[in-house]
């Protein structure tokens, strides 16, 4: 009996160890032949390549580790933008699919069916090589609302110039903490005394007053810088000042959010449909207002169905952002697993770091989501 249980495990273990041993033995031999020694020391060497778009200060004189950080931050940036827009579009479309209006329902359905049945890579190419290439040159661009310029070289938007930005950020954090306390207090008060506190009003008040105070007392100062057209050479123009979103970022974020939104829309639809009609009727019959029915009865139950698959979609979006490499958006894969790998030739180290990074991102998000799921799960006796 015991033998029957141990044998298969032993065989599996031996096979796995043999495969790993075979691979690492070969790797050692191959690296010796090429005169490379395994190690991560190269990370501190000077990288001597440039990256087009980076959130932190970076040029060729920085280390490979810095290049890795640039790539990672760019990946996170496009993922966060994608997640925000995908959620907004997804929720709107998901609700539209439940609409009683035939035209709206059909439009949403066509959108979902269309965008989710076309490979993401194709969509990225479409936006980057076909759609955004049709935009005007900088000198011919029409301003939107006078300050936004959508051109073939990128999207130029006004930027804020801050003095003492840190104090402003602290004030916002303080406001958020205050709101959390007020909410907890209001909940306790309602449970004990049954009276309701206007939490929303107080929250808005905090969010306005504290940052305002930081302007008046903390010496925070903000001015808006509007992009202005500038001539580089006879035929080449660009915009100076403000913030430039490169076309790679725009097309990637656009494609990612439009593609992922279709899946999120289906999750939302399934979630809202999953709440039985009896729940709404029961809630209405005990005298809750329609708003309360939605907030206290429908949403908590729908969210329980919506959140796990939606998290999966967020994870997919983050992983799919690696397709950036196809249109030269400098994300982790392009900067690190592309350029840095070409320069150093350290395939094993770099690919393993890249994979581990994605693995860490995925596992962190899924651990957090499992915890959240447990927290909101129905507590059965």
């Amino acid at each position: 009996m015991n033998f029957k249980k141990i044998l298969p495990q032993l065989i599996t273990l031996v096979v796995v160890i043999l495969v790993f041993g075979f691979f690492s033995y070969n790797a050692q031999v191959n690296m010796e032949n090429r005169g490379i020694t395994f190690g991560y020391g190269f990370l501190s060497q000077e990288s001597s390549f440039d990256v087009q778009f980076s959130l932190i200060e970076y040029d060729g004189s920085h280390s490979y580790f810095r290049a890795y950080l640039v790539g990672l931050l760019n990946t996170i940036l496009v993922s966060v933008i994608g997640i925000i827009f995908a959620t907004i579009i997804g929720v709107v479309v998901g609700i539209a699919r439940l609409s009683s209006n035939y035209l709206i329902e059909r439009t949403a359905a066509i959108y979902v069916e269309f965008f989710r049945n076309i490979p993401l890579l194709l969509q990225i190419f479409f936006w980057y090589f076909a759609a955004l290439r049709a935009l005007p040159l900088p000198e011919k661009a029409e301003p939107m609302f006078g300050v936004f310029f959508l051109t073939i070289k990128g999207f130029f938007i006004p930027a804020f110039i801050w003095n003492n930005l840190d104090i402003f950020i602290y004030s916002v954090i303080a406001a958020i903490i205050a709101i959390i306390f007020v909410r907890a207090y209001a909940k306790k008060k309602q449970e004990n005394e049954g009276t309701q506190t206007p939490v929303l009003l107080i929250s808005i008040g905090f969010l306005i007053i504290l940052p305002l105070l930081s302007f008046l007392l903390g010496g925070v100062d903000a001015s808006i810088e509007i992009p202005v057209i500038e001539q580089l050479s006879k035929t080449s123009f660009t915009y100076k000042g403000g913030l430039k979103l490169p076309p790679e970022l725009i097309s990637l974020a656009l494609a990612l959010s439009l593609y992922t939104a279709t899946f999120i829309a289906e999750c939302v639809r399934a979630g809202v449909q999953g709440v039985s009609k009896g729940q709404k009727e029961a809630a209405a019959s005990i005298g809750l207002t329609p708003n309360q029915v939605l907030k206290l009865v429908v949403m908590p139950q729908a969210l329980r169905i919506i959140i796990p698959p939606t998290t999966n979609q967020y994870l997919n979006l983050t992983k799919n952002s690696s397709l950036a490499a196809a249109i030269a958006y400098p994300d982790l894969v392009l900067v690190f697993a592309g350029t840095a790998l070409m320069q150093t030739g350290r395939a094993i180290e770099i690919v393993s770091i890249t994979m581990l990074t994605y693995l860490t991102l995925s596992i962190t998000i899924s651990i957090f989501m499992n915890w959240y799921n447990k927290k909101i799960a129905i507590k059965e006796k």
């Binding site: 249980k5 298969p8 495990q9 599996t12 273990l13 796995v16 075979f22 691979f23 690492s24 070969n26 790797a27 031999v29 191959n30 690296m31 032949n33 609409s99 009683s100 209006n101 035939y102 035209l103 709206i104 439009t107 069916e113 269309f114 049945n117 076309i118 490979p119 993401l120 890579l121 194709l122 190419f125 479409f126 090589f129 076909a130 759609a131 290439r133 049709a134 992983k319 799919n320 690696s322 397709l323 490499a325 196809a326 894969v333 697993a337 790998l341 395939a347 094993i348 690919v351 393993s352 890249t354 994979m355 994605y358 693995l359 995925s362 596992i363």
Partner: protein
């Protein structure tokens, strides 16, 4: 006679409301229609903003006037119920209708009216519309990649044969249904592999194997009509007979030597491409990832700790990394792991990488099916004295797999949509070929046409598959 109250139309004076409402609504649509199709502006005498919003306002009032509950007119009630339930819905409906009318003329002119369908060079495309001549010229490349034009019938023939062999299941009579699983799981993949490997890649080794394939195919097809009594003997005797006949009786070798039949030209995998490569890659990945995923899912639910944790580690690893890094690994890192003199073909490496990647997803899908089975099924099987494998093969898996057919179909759909990524290792399927064609100096500037074409192709494939999987889901839902 009741007083007219235009703020809240009701059933009294029904026709007054109805006619004025329909009139206004039609007028608004007419304005937009004329504006969009004939660029006539009926309301140009009004100031700009009002002229712009006039159709919307008129249409909104029109819809408001025909919003009469229980009017007794069936058609009107249907319209009201579907697009005109309240003010907000009426506004959205109008916006959608106007958007459709507005976007039709530019789309029509781009796709059809101003498009160029004929010609074989860039000069033929002078119109403002799409240049379909570009697609026509490059069609072979988009479908077959760099595969030599003269040899493309081999790909066509293989796909036709494989489709036919794949469809055998639909025509098999009741008697042979029980062999179908065996056929699809073991026989069909082997035939497909032989076909693609030896027929599409061709070369001198082709003949050694072609007899075997032809013999196997013919005998299997005939085999479905042979009484089961003789089946055992049949499957041993007939293939061998056909093989020997082909090899010696028809004197193929002599014919080749005489130059009457040419041996197929060897086409290396680097030249494969286009849509056919998409099919080949997805087909093989499907075949390989399914068994691997099945064992992984069983491993993950196993009581044996070492097997369980190895399975979990494997699954979570592949699910945690993006496919593009897996392909990077297969192209730059994997060769480092092999002995110096060992070389694995690029396409094979890619197929292995994608299969392992998808296997992790398939494993999770199958695990969902295994978990959905009630515990009683396991207990019942055990109480009959079944062992682990017997229990799974005869009781658990048939039920669990039936449950997860839609899930597996979805994974396969994702797989098809992931195949364009193989551009990372330099294999060019349809999207890769588009990018290549786009940079051809003689055909610059037709990116849009190419992407629209590829989108339509992928949409048709994926939409058909998703509808099919939905049908399967419905079918099995009713059976349970």
């Amino acid at each position: 006679m009741n007083k007219l109250n235009f703020l809240s139309p009701n059933k009294n004076n029904l026709y007054t409301y109805l006619y004025s409402g329909i009139g206004l609504f039609s007028l608004s649509i007419l304005i937009v229609f004329l504006n969009s199709f004939f660029s006539l502006d009926l309301t140009s005498f009004l100031p700009g903003t009002i002229s712009f919003f006039l159709p919307l306002i008129i249409g909104f009032i029109g819809l408001h006037l025909i919003r009469i509950e229980y009017s007794g007119i069936k058609f009107l009630d249907t319209i009201n119920k579907n697009i005109n339930t309240n003010k907000f819905n009426a506004l959205l409906s109008l916006l959608i209708i106007f958007a459709v009318i507005k976007s039709l003329p530019p789309l029509l002119s781009w796709f059809i009216i101003d498009a160029n369908f004929t010609g074989d060079s860039k000069d033929a495309c002078s119109g403002s519309g799409a240049c379909w001549a570009y697609i026509k010229t490059w069609f072979n490349r988009f479908m077959y990649g760099m595969y030599p034009n003269a040899e493309q019938w081999r790909i066509n023939l293989s796909f036709i044969a494989l489709t036919f062999l794949g469809g055998v299941g639909f025509f098999a009579s009741e008697k042979f249904k029980k062999y179908l699983t065996l056929y699809y799981v073991v026989v069909y993949p082997i035939i497909a592999f032989l076909f693609i490997f030896f027929f599409i890649s061709g070369g001198p080794i082709f003949f050694d194997f072609s007899y075997g394939i032809i013999a196997a195919v013919i005998s299997i097809v005939i085999g479905f009509f042979i009484p089961s009594k003789f089946k055992m003997y049949y499957f041993i005797i007939v293939p061998i007979t056909i093989y020997i006949l082909l090899k010696y009786a028809f004197f193929y070798e002599e014919l080749i030597e005489l130059g009457k039949i040419q041996a197929f030209e060897w086409v290396e995998t680097g030249a494969w491409g286009g849509l056919s490569l998409t099919f080949i890659v997805s087909f093989f990945c499907l075949i390989f990832c399914f068994p691997v995923g099945l064992f992984l899912s069983l491993g993950r639910r196993s009581d044996l700790p070492i097997i369980k944790y190895i399975s979990i580690g494997f699954i979570e690893f592949w699910r945690g990394v993006p496919l593009i890094t897996v392909l990077f690994m297969s192209s730059v890192m994997f060769p480092m792991f092999l002995p110096e003199d060992m070389f694995i073909d690029k396409l094979v490496r890619v197929i292995i990488a994608i299969s392992l990647f998808e296997a992790a997803y398939v494993a999770e899908v199958i695990r969902g099916g295994l978990q959905a089975l009630p515990r009683g099924q396991y207990d019942a099987a055990k109480s009959l004295g079944m062992g682990y494998w017997k229990m799974h093969i005869f009781v658990i898996l048939p039920q669990a797999l039936k449950l997860v057919i839609p899930g597996i179909a979805n994974t396969f759909l994702a797989l098809v949509k992931d195949t364009p990524l193989i551009f990372v290792v330099g294999l060019l399927e349809i999207v890769g070929m588009l990018n290549l064609a786009k940079t051809n100096p003689e055909w610059l500037g037709f990116a849009m046409e190419g992407y629209v074409f590829a989108s339509i192709v992928f949409f048709i494939i994926c939409y058909a598959m998703s509808k099919y999987s939905y049908n399967l889901e419905q079918k099995y839902k009713t059976e349970r």
